[in-house]
């Protein structure tokens, strides 16, 4: 943004071993990755259990819910928007899905479908208001957050909804080989997101809108539709996260996921995506989410006083962002 940041870049880098290395280093993923490695090593030194396979899979499984929310958040932030409703939408989707199965005795498929529709519907609602209503995303999604939480509580009457068919837990705790199902789901969703962002016109348009919305519109990008789509995607990933969370908790929880939106945003920004939009990589978000998960896990493993954990986490996030700030 500042005049200094517009420094000439090497055009047509010469191919050599050094330059390959430099190119890796020049990738926007490099710094989040370095942050991840540094934090992992620190955690490994401080706690013997950290680097066990079972613990690493444990971290990935814990991370999966926020990481999946962060996929939708990445799309939204790339267009220069924000979605504060993801945690509440996730809770509502899980609650409705569980409620339909348990309270209304519907087949599980109907419940899951309804959960997805809740996510899509609220995403659509956000998207329409932001894109055509031209209302600021932060306030639209804040309002949606309140609405979704309220609806979840009304529907459930404040009680968590348990008594789900036991196979639902497969989504949360199942494994394929040794890999937990949530981790596989997360990997798949990230792959799809990457293809969407980097191999389709839609992805280009997402980046273009974040880069310069007026110019994108002038070039013929259907900015409203693209913006609608990113909020719908965010609603969809929230519903998918709900599925995994429901499998993990084996119940529909209207108050689940409070504050998850902030974790998802932190993951996106830690991953190197510019909060103003236009720049960022989806795998950066994955790195950011894992970084946050490792912080939680490692500090827990070390048995640090929980109050102190918040403080340490805050400083480490600051440090990670500071190191990586050139890319922002």
């Amino acid at each position: 943004m500042s005049p200094e940041s517009t420094v000439a870049s090497p055009s047509n880098p010469p191919r050599s071993v050094g330059s390959v290395f430099r190119k890796i280093f020049a990738s926007p993923l490099a710094l989040p990755l370095i942050g991840l490695i540094v934090v992992s090593v620190l955690m490994g030194l401080a706690s013997d259990n950290f680097f066990s396979v079972s613990n690493l899979l444990n971290v990935l499984r814990q991370v999966s819910v926020v990481a999946i929310l962060a996929v939708g958040m990445t799309f939204v932030i790339l267009t220069g928007g924000i979605d504060l409703s993801v945690g509440a939408v996730m809770a509502l989707a899980g609650t409705i899905a569980a409620g339909l199965m348990v309270k209304m005795g519907m087949p599980a498929g109907v419940g899951l479908l309804a959960g997805l529709l809740v996510g899509l519907g609220l995403g659509f609602f956000n998207g329409v208001l932001v894109a055509w209503g031209r209302m600021p995303a932060i306030i639209v999604t804040l309002a949606t957050m309140g609405i979704a939480r309220g609806l979840g509580l009304i529907y459930s009457g404040g009680y968590p909804i348990s008594g789900l068919p036991s196979w639902i837990s497969w989504f949360g705790v199942g494994r394929v080989g040794i890999i937990p199902v949530p981790v596989i789901a997360m990997a798949l969703i990230y792959l799809i997101a990457w293809v969407l962002l980097h191999r389709t016109p839609f992805g280009r348009h997402v980046y273009a809108i974040g880069g310069n919305e007026v110019a994108a519109k002038l070039s013929g990008v259907k900015t409203e539709r693209v913006k609608l789509a990113v909020y719908v995607i965010s609603g969809l990933t929230a519903a998918l996260a709900a599925l995994i969370l429901t499998g993990r908790l084996m119940s529909g929880q209207p108050n689940a996921g409070v504050g998850f939106e902030l974790d998802a945003i932190a993951a996106v920004v830690l991953g190197g995506t510019a909060i103003a939009g236009g720049r960022g990589l989806i795998f950066g978000t994955l790195i950011g989410a894992v970084l946050l998960g490792i912080l939680n896990n490692g500090l827990n493993l070390m048995g640090i006083n929980p109050y102190l954990q918040d403080v340490i986490k805050g400083f480490i996030i600051l440090l990670a962002i500071y190191i990586g700030r050139e890319w922002r």
Binding site: S47, N58, G158, Y159, L245, R248, L249, A256, V258, P306
Partner: protein, 282 residues
């Protein structure tokens, strides 16, 4: 407010917890029985909002305030204001500072003590245990205190860690998963409430380890899990409906002019385990 219908206001620290929801249900039933009007608010764990809620109720001219404070000290000015308007104030579940007429609440220290004593017995008096803490408010802190006292009576039981699950199922799940990773020999977990315990239960079941879980509340889900058998072996039940019923009764007694109403009515807690879980409900 022309007709002299009795107005009862109740402010809850939160209403997305079955414990308080069942209190609200009991209140509605009781009020219906005596033909009173009920106003209910949800502070969402925010004292400032709770004070505002009380102020708003006072604007509506309530006669009785049933107060479930999210923080005992912080709510004092609301109590004072209510008393200035001659409203009868009964604290329910957690006490409040200031000129409260009566406090009705569980023996929280006892609850923590009994849960952890039960666990210690089931562990044969030895092993590593952990506490899953919650939001730092007086009742929760008392439960932890009680638990530590019970554990302290067993020299071979080692309290290895205390982590905060924020009484939230999803947070507790992750925290307990990590606990299990870092303390492979963990034998028991005490959760300060059933919400956190349900998350801990999911984590324990996911790990496939033999860890005994006890907790406080007696929530339907917890009771169901205990009935089924498994890691969740005990919850020390509170009686939320009875707290409200007793609280309302005492408030009415004040209203009718009784002068020797007790200032505090501790409500007993009861150990619920697989033996008696079938027959227990709030």
């Amino acid at each position: 407010a022309q007709d002299k219908k009795l107005k009862i206001g109740m402010t809850f620290q939160e209403l997305n917890n079955p414990y308080f929801v069942s209190m609200q249900e009991a209140l509605n039933e009781a009020a219906k029985a005596i033909g009173a009007e009920v106003i209910v608010t949800d502070a969402g764990h925010d004292v400032a909002k709770q004070i505002s809620d009380v102020e708003d109720m006072l604007q509506q001219g309530i006669d009785i305030l049933l107060l479930n404070p999210t923080d005992s000290a912080g709510i004092e000015s609301a109590v004072t204001m209510a008393k200035e308007k001659n409203v009868i104030v009964v604290a329910v579940d957690a006490n409040a500072s200031g000129p409260v007429d009566t406090f009705v609440g569980s023996k929280n220290r006892d609850a923590g003590y009994q849960s952890c004593k039960y666990m210690a017995e089931k562990l044969g008096g030895k092993g590593e245990v952990a506490i899953l803490d919650g939001i730092p408010v007086v009742p929760i802190l008392e439960r932890v205190e009680g638990c530590k006292a019970a554990l302290g009576e067993n020299p071979d039981i080692k309290l290895v860690t205390t982590q905060n699950g924020r009484q939230d199922r999803s947070v507790a799940l992750g925290v307990v998963e990590n606990m299990i990773q870092s303390y492979p020999n963990l034998a028991g977990i005490f959760s300060v409430n059933d919400g956190g315990a349900m998350g801990a239960l999911a984590a324990i079941e996911g790990s496939g380890k033999d860890i005994k879980l006890t907790s406080v509340d007696g929530a339907p889900e917890a009771v169901e899990a205990i009935t089924k058998g498994g890691a969740f072996i005990e919850t020390t039940a509170q009686f939320p409906r009875d707290q409200v019923r007793v609280g309302l009764a005492l408030a009415l007694a004040h209203k009718w002019g009784a002068r020797v109403v007790p200032a505090a009515v501790p409500i007993d807690v009861r150990v619920v385990d697989s033996a008696n879980a079938k027959d227990f409900s709030w």
